[in-house]
């Protein structure tokens, strides 16, 4: 019966995360004007704008599939950066400590692999991921024309 208990526990985790994602949806308006965070993919990928819930599921390792059927790989900013803290706190509504605990559980149980952490957008662009689409986030003012916005969380 251990298998069923494990499954039940993982289902509970999923429900909690879903509630977290729903809470994140209401936080979009709190983004500071001009310092907004945008979620981006490489330009040239045809992708309709995503919802906050969809972005949250991707970055929390609950889904790796885009609406167009393609596979996506999330890329995080460095854990120590303000952008990281802002993204998870203002977009996903979770503190860094909560995300750290979530990542630890995820890592131990194998439910997912924490996203790679890249220092800059340019470094993320150079990542050679064969096939899957790279998705990351940045300040809107730092965005260049190599990226397409799939979610804009503030002005």
């Amino acid at each position: 019966m251990s298998f069923f208990n494990i499954t039940r526990r993982r289902l509970c985790n999923g429900v909690v995360l879903s509630l977290m994602c729903t809470a994140c949806t209401g936080l979009q308006a709190q983004v500071v004007e001009g310092n907004g965070i945008v979620v981006v993919v490489k330009r040239g990928i045809e992708l309709t704008p995503l919802t906050t819930d969809q972005v949250a599921r991707i970055f929390l390792g609950l889904s790796d599939t885009l609406p167009n059927g393609g596979t996506v790989i999330p890329v995080d900013a460095p854990e120590s950066s303000v952008l990281y803290q802002d993204f998870y706190s203002k977009v996903l509504g979770k503190s860094v400590a909560q995300i750290k605990a979530y990542r630890a559980r995820q890592s131990f149980t194998g439910a997912g692999i924490p996203p790679r952490q890249i220092a800059s957008l340019a470094q993320a662009f150079k990542q050679d991921f064969a096939g899957p689409t790279v998705m990351t986030y940045t300040r809107k003012r730092e965005l260049d024309d190599q990226w397409s916005i799939v979610l804009e969380t503030g002005k």
Partner: protein
């Protein structure tokens, strides 16, 4: 009801009527065979399907075996994260990559394809992640791989677990879920503690709860699969291909598995204690506790692997036993069908032989009886309806024999009587023949006498000629003719026909000829002659016969011809011009009927070249085979076409020949008499004849 039954059976009755016994029994046997095949085909199909499902389950066990091999490889690689640059690590990595590619290739369901692709991507992430990544992240990547592999194994087990056998389903759960979870959790606890991954330390203790739950489930599952089967004994037969490396020496006994299970459960409890010891100690004690935990974890890992191999073998054995059992069932079914078919064929053939034997006996008996062996009797040993036929035949033969004997006896009696009668008849026949000969001779004599009294010499003068003939229908005739010279130089010609035939008519003809000739000599005219003769014949006619006659007087000096007829055919004259005249006569009474009759007299002239014909009804009433009378018309035609310059005898012969051709051998109905008188005087010497 009987009519309905006959109507329903009509097609079968018709078919039966068209076939001989051999074909009937062949048809019956074929029908039974078809019904048997039809009824048994679902059983064969069921067995075949179940074997296919069991084989499919065997394939599932093989796939799960590969999954578990991959899991052990991943666990080993995870254990060597710190030394991943070693050659052993690279070699194991290549094997893992090949195994994962095979899983992607062999995935069948959508979920399996999805999970195998995810596993491939995870492995790609692992293989492309260098030491620049933190240990906990690399550890997390391996955990993701094992986690995905668990999900893939569960999906495979779900697809191949066909719920045919509870023991086999339990084995699937052990192989696909419980033991892989124990292997992963046991090693994961050890790895986290040995490497000091602080972020995951809190999960190690909670993982022990998972191990405890897995242990209890594993215990019940193994008990179901192994311990219960030990009571029946594990079969050694192996039909599904199995990994050779998973063949412990004491496989099949069940004891080894039970020992491993107990060892594993005990080890898991020790591992719990060791984890607690690590978490509650510090310094050197903590290091010693970690070392102890590592040793226990390694031992548990080996025990779990051995138990996994043994469980896999047990699953194969269960499948093999099931397939073997199904094949035995199939052989039994085939055997039962074969035996049933043989028994049915044996019975049908025996029935056929029995019936044919009875029929042959009936046929032989019937043939012998028909060939004359009336003492033949048919004896049948059977008790069927054919024996009733044989009994009826014997009864019939007995009755026929009795009747034949009776008939033979009667025949013999009648033959004897007949012989007596035939002998008597022979004597009578001889007498009759003698009498007949005598009568015949006398009749011939009478015929000769009759013909002798008729003139056979006829006048054939230079100026005229006469000729006549008479052909009786029987030995004696009633016709007659005469041609005689009178004292005054004239010639009397006569044709007469006595009524009736035979001896009486012949006698009356002789009397009539004498009377007529005597009368002709005593008078001068034909009418007087006929009147006198009539009176004389009437007085001498006790048998009431009568005579028709035509009598004429020809005077060669002037060619005159005076004639009178007593009920006779009128004479004919063919003139030199070729025309034929039927001379006029009066319907006077025949001679011998009434006395005192008077007769009319007629006169004509026969000129140069004229021919006179006098005849009886034997000419005109001669009948052909088609019953057609020669007739007066045909006679007139012949007379008109006859030669004008021929002798009287030739004309008589020609007329007789023409009548003979006409009757064409048919029996003559009456005497035939004709008389021809020709005036041969040249025309320049023609005298004046006054009619």
């Amino acid at each position: 009801m009987a009519t309905l039954r006959l109507t329903l059976l009509k097609p079968a009755i018709w078919l039966s009527s068209q076939l001989n016994f051999a074909l009937k029994y062949w048809t019956l046997g074929l029908g039974i065979a078809l019904v048997g095949a039809y009824l048994s085909s679902p059983l064969f199909h069921q067995i075949h399907s179940t074997i296919a499902l069991a084989t499919l389950q065997g394939s599932g066990v093989q796939i799960l075996t590969r999954h578990n091999q991959l899991l052990i490889q991943l666990v080993n690689l995870r254990a060597e994260l710190a030394t991943r640059e070693s050659p052993a690590y690279a070699q194991e990595s290549g094997a893992v990559k090949t195994a994962i590619e095979g899983m992607v290739r062999d995935a069948k369901s959508t979920e399996e394809k999805k999970l195998s692709k995810l596993l491939e991507r995870t492995w790609t992430h692992i293989s492309t992640t260098g030491t620049e990544e933190s240990l906990d992240k690399r550890f997390a990547a391996f955990n993701a791989a094992t986690h995905t592999l668990h999900a893939l194994s569960r999906e495979t087990a779900r697809n191949y677990r066909l719920n045919l056998d509870p023991d086999l389903d339990a084995a699937f759960d052990i192989i696909a879920i419980y033991l892989p979870a124990v292997i992963d959790s046991t090693s994961k606890q050890d790895h986290v503690i040995q490497w000091g991954i602080a972020s995951m330390a809190g999960f190690v203790a909670s993982e022990q709860m998972n191990l405890d739950e897995a242990s209890s489930t594993l215990l019940s599952g193994v008990n179901q699969v192994l311990l219960q089967r030990n009571g029946r004994g594990l079969s050694q037969s192996v039909q599904v291909e199995k990994p050779k490396e998973s063949s412990p020496a004491n496989y099949g006994s069940g004891g080894f598995m039970d020992e491993n299970l107990q060892k594993l459960l005990s080890g898991l409890r020790q591992q719990q204690d060791a984890v607690d010891q690590v978490n509650t100690t510090t310094g050197a004690e903590s290091v010693a506790a970690k070392r102890t935990l590592h040793a226990i974890a390694q031992s548990n890992l080996r025990s779990a692997q051995l138990l996994l191999e043994e469980s896999t073998r047990a699953a194969y054995v269960i499948i093999d036993e099931r397939i073997a059992g199904l094949k035995i069932d199939r052989i039994r079914l085939i055997g039962a069908l074969f035996v049933s078919g043989f028994l049915i064929a044996y019975l049908l053939y025996a029935f056929y032989i029995g019936v044919i034997k009875s029929i042959n006996a009936l046929s032989r008996g019937t043939n012998s009886f028909c060939a004359g062996q009336r003492d033949v009797r048919i004896k049948l040993k059977s008790r069927d309806e054919l024996s009733l036929v044989a009994t009826n035949f014997n009864t019939m033969a007995q009755e026929v024999e009795r009747l034949v004997q009776l008939i033979e006896e009667q025949n013999q009696t009648r033959e004897r009587d007949l012989k007596v009668l035939v002998d008597a008849l022979g004597l009578k026949n001889e007498e009759l023949y003698t009498v007949n000969q005598r009568v015949h001779e006398e009749l011939n004599l009478a015929r000769s006498v009759q013909l002798a009294i008729l003139p056979n010499q006829f006048p054939d003068e230079p100026t005229w000629a006469a000729h006549a003939c008479m052909h009786p229908a029987r030995e004696l005739g009633g016709d007659f003719y005469d041609c005689f010279a009178l004292p005054d130089g004239r010639y009397g010609v006569l044709v007469a026909d006595v009524s009736g035939k035979g001896v009486g008519a012949a006698f009356f003809m002789a009397v009539s000829r004498t009377v007529l000739q005597d009368s002709a000599l005593s008078v001068r005219t034909p009418s007087e002659m006929l009147a006198i003769a009539n009176d004389l014949l009437c007085s001498r006619n006790p048998m009431d016969l009568f005579v028709t006659a035509c009598y004429g007087l020809f005077d060669p000096k002037d060619g005159s011809f005076e004639y009178a007829s007593a009920g006779h055919h009128p004479p004919m004259v063919r003139r030199t011009t070729g025309s034929v005249e039927v001379l006029p006569t009066t319907n006077d009474m025949a001679l011998g009927v009434l006395q005192g009759m008077e007769y009319q007299e007629h006169r004509t002239c026969l000129y140069s070249g004229d021919t006179l014909l006098m005849y009886t009804d034997g000419v005109t009433e001669a009948f052909s085979p088609q019953e057609i009378a020669y007739g007066e018309k045909r006679l007139l035609s012949w007379f008109a076409d006859s030669p004008t310059q021929c002798a009287a005898s030739s004309l008589v012969d020609a007329l007789v020949s023409d009548v003979a051709r006409f009757v064409d051998g048919a029996e003559a109905s009456d005497d035939l008499t004709c008389l021809i008188l020709c005036n041969k005087r040249p025309s320049e010497q023609d005298l004046d004849c006054i009619v």
